[in-house]
């Protein structure tokens, strides 16, 4: 596997700056965790993120006390922020699995320097996403009813509903992502175990390393398992946002009932996920001096993936508009008209600007190689993708078939506190991850060095 791996490295711009050895790669990455003192900036950043997370817990605590009436959800808009944020976060997670699994199968060796923190991003994003359906069910203390367990009532979940498919898809996704991340960490945990001078750190990393010693037999089974897991995670990640889109597409609400949803949701997920990868990678490589490992090539490749998936998303919007006219269904046609001219026209036009027009700047090479420009552009895309989910959930529900049931949705401060709070939780977890675990996969970086090449 490794030889074909490296064939791609030689022909491209450097995936890693030259001049490194097995020893220096190891030292540079493990030093971030083992020897580098936490800076004031880290404490300030973590502190802010942690306070936001506390705000989220406060908002959820108040929700448990008062019920979902404190939110802006009303009939006909019963889904509101909780589902918007759920879909947004799950989508962000998708880029991590794409980088770690799909790019592994495609032998894209540049993934080796970003897969670890992208997988961490996936896990934390799925954790943020998982909060929302749980607190949205009305009686959150009964959220376990979602799972098939032998209850005294004798009933089982309704397996013909996409909502229960979603429970299985998301919980499988969370489990497999965690396993994939953990299996990738095992050899690096052994490295940290052998480098750590603090006895507590040595014991903790030693336990997490499972006693890994790098035996050739172990590596062989390890690589087989890793590759198979990548092969399993690939259809899984495509299925997750497909199933999320079924939550909408199986319903008959105008604007939801369309077959373009699964591919367009998956593309949108990867689009927003890569935007989040860039928003994390650009500051991380700057602050921790990792520009030699996360090079311009990574930024450019991520930008190209965003450009491609962004065009698929644009195609999805185009097909929605086309089908609104071509189906001849007056409710579908009205949905499109209502998006462009209705009470939520401002979010819809903002969404078109954020997701379609502004990202066209990525055709310019200067944009793709400028970290600052990419960082800002990624922020725009993340806002745009959030607006997309807002439009899908709210605009379709607020005008359905009967004018008597029309309504408006206004998020309350509790909605905003919960949403912003999950961003805090995500960032707080990310800050901890950077200090406690190797943010770049050390052993996979070693395989990129020319010395790793072996002739038979």
């Amino acid at each position: 596997m490794d030889e074909q791996y490296k064939a791609t490295v030689d022909t491209q711009a450097p995936v890693m700056e030259p001049g490194y050895t097995f020893g220096t790669v190891t030292e540079k990455i493990s030093a971030i965790v083992l020897t580098r003192p936490a800076s004031n900036g880290w404490f300030v950043g973590f502190g802010i993120a942690f306070l936001l997370m506390m705000m989220m817990l406060y908002a959820i605590g108040y929700l448990f006390l008062k019920g979902v009436g404190i939110w802006g959800v009303t009939i006909p808009i019963g889904w509101g922020f909780a589902i918007v944020n759920f879909v947004w976060w799950i989508g962000i997670g998708h880029a991590g699995t794409l980088i770690s699994a799909i790019l592994l199968l495609l032998r894209q060796s540049w993934r080796n320097s970003i897969n670890r923190f992208a997988e961490a991003m996936t896990l934390f994003a799925v954790a943020c996403a998982g909060i929302f359906p749980g607190i949205h069910v009305g009686r959150p203390w009964l959220a376990y009813w979602l799972f098939p367990y032998p209850s005294t009532m004798g009933v089982w979940p309704q397996f013909r509903s996409p909502l229960i498919w979603d429970v299985f898809a998301v919980s499988t996704y969370a489990t497999i992502s965690a396993l994939f991340w953990f299996i990738g960490l095992i050899p690096d945990m052994a490295t940290l175990r052998d480098r750590a001078t603090n006895p507590v750190a040595r014991i903790v990393y030693g336990m997490l390393s499972m006693g890994w010693r790098g035996s050739a037999r172990h590596w062989h089974r390890y690589e087989t398992a890793y590759l198979l897991l990548a092969g399993l995670a690939t259809p899984l990640v495509l299925s997750v946002h497909t199933v999320v889109s079924f939550d909408f597409a199986v319903g008959i609400v105008p604007g939801w009932h369309t077959t373009i949803f699964p591919p367009y949701f998956v593309a949108g997920a990867i689009y927003s996920g890569f935007a989040m990868v860039l928003m994390l990678a650009i500051p991380i490589r700057k602050i921790y001096n990792l520009e030699d490992f996360i090079t311009e090539l990574h930024l450019q490749n991520a930008a190209k993936v965003m450009l491609a998936t962004g065009l698929i998303v644009a195609y999805g919007y185009g097909i929605e508009a086309f089908m609104g006219w071509y189906s001849g269904d007056r409710y579908d046609a009205f949905t499109i008209w209502n998006r462009l001219h209705g009470p939520y026209a401002v979010p819809y036009w903002s969404l078109l600007i954020c997701n379609i027009f502004v990202p066209q700047l990525l055709w310019i090479k200067k944009m793709r190689t400028s970290p600052v420009a990419l960082f800002l552009l990624s922020g725009v895309i993340l806002v745009g993708m959030w607006l997309e989910r807002f439009i899908i959930v709210v605009v379709s529900l607020h005008r359905d078939f009967l004018t008597s049931s029309w309504g408006m949705y206004y998020p309350t401060r509790w909605d905003w506190m919960t949403y912003v709070g999950t961003i805090g939780m995500f960032l707080a977890a990310m800050f901890l991850f950077l200090r406690l675990l190797p943010a770049i996969s050390i052993f996979e970086m070693r395989t990129l060095l020319p010395e790793a090449e072996v002739k038979e």
Partner: protein, 178 residues
């Protein structure tokens, strides 16, 4: 049975190439019970020390089949046998609707089998292992490559094996206490 006080003899190498060449020569010299340690996976090294039976794919296949059957039969039994409910006039055994969860359960079981199967076949977690008694072995997770001949090898002889490993021009040779 009395345990051999020596677990094996270990040679340290500088490069992946040196380790692969040394492993090949040691195996060709008739040593059966040997192992090689490296800080990253090396293509073909496991074959050089005579390892061919990787059972991970079989474990994953079994896991996937069990998961798929569990997923489908669970839904069938719950929806059509134990408590059939008429929802929207759909038949209790609505097999197309059961495909998604069957798929997810297949992936879930196969993935769990891949990780825990790999760990179990590797005999991990194993916090203690004799090779860790060699102080230099801590570099095996950084930039050094090690080859060991176990004392349980039929061809093992303290002096002759050490002499043989010396010929491979290692960086150092250590005796591994068990």
């Amino acid at each position: 049975m009395k345990r051999d006080p020596v677990y094996g003899i270990m040679a340290e190498f500088d490069s992946a190439q040196a380790l692969v060449d040394a492993a090949k020569r040691t195996h060709q010299a008739g040593y059966q019970k040997i192992d090689a340690y490296s800080p990253f996976p090396i293509e073909g090294l496991a074959e050089e020390i005579g390892f061919y039976r990787d059972e991970v794919p079989l474990v994953v296949l079994i896991g996937g089949i069990v998961g798929g059957l569990t997923g489908y039969l669970m839904q069938y039994w719950m929806s059509a046998v134990d408590y059939p409910l008429n929802i929207g006039g759909k038949p209790p055994h609505s097999w197309p609707a059961f495909i998604v969860i069957t798929f997810e359960m297949t992936i879930l079981f196969a993935g769990i089998s891949a990780v825990f199967g790999m760990l179990a076949l590797n005999g991990l977690p194993m916090p203690y292992h004799p090779v860790f008694n060699v102080p230099r072995f801590s570099s095996a997770s950084k930039d050094r490559f090690f080859l060991i001949v176990f004392s349980s090898d039929p061809k093992y002889d303290p002096a002759a094996t050490r002499g043989f490993l010396q010929e491979l021009k290692p960086r150092s040779i250590s005796e591994v206490p068990s």
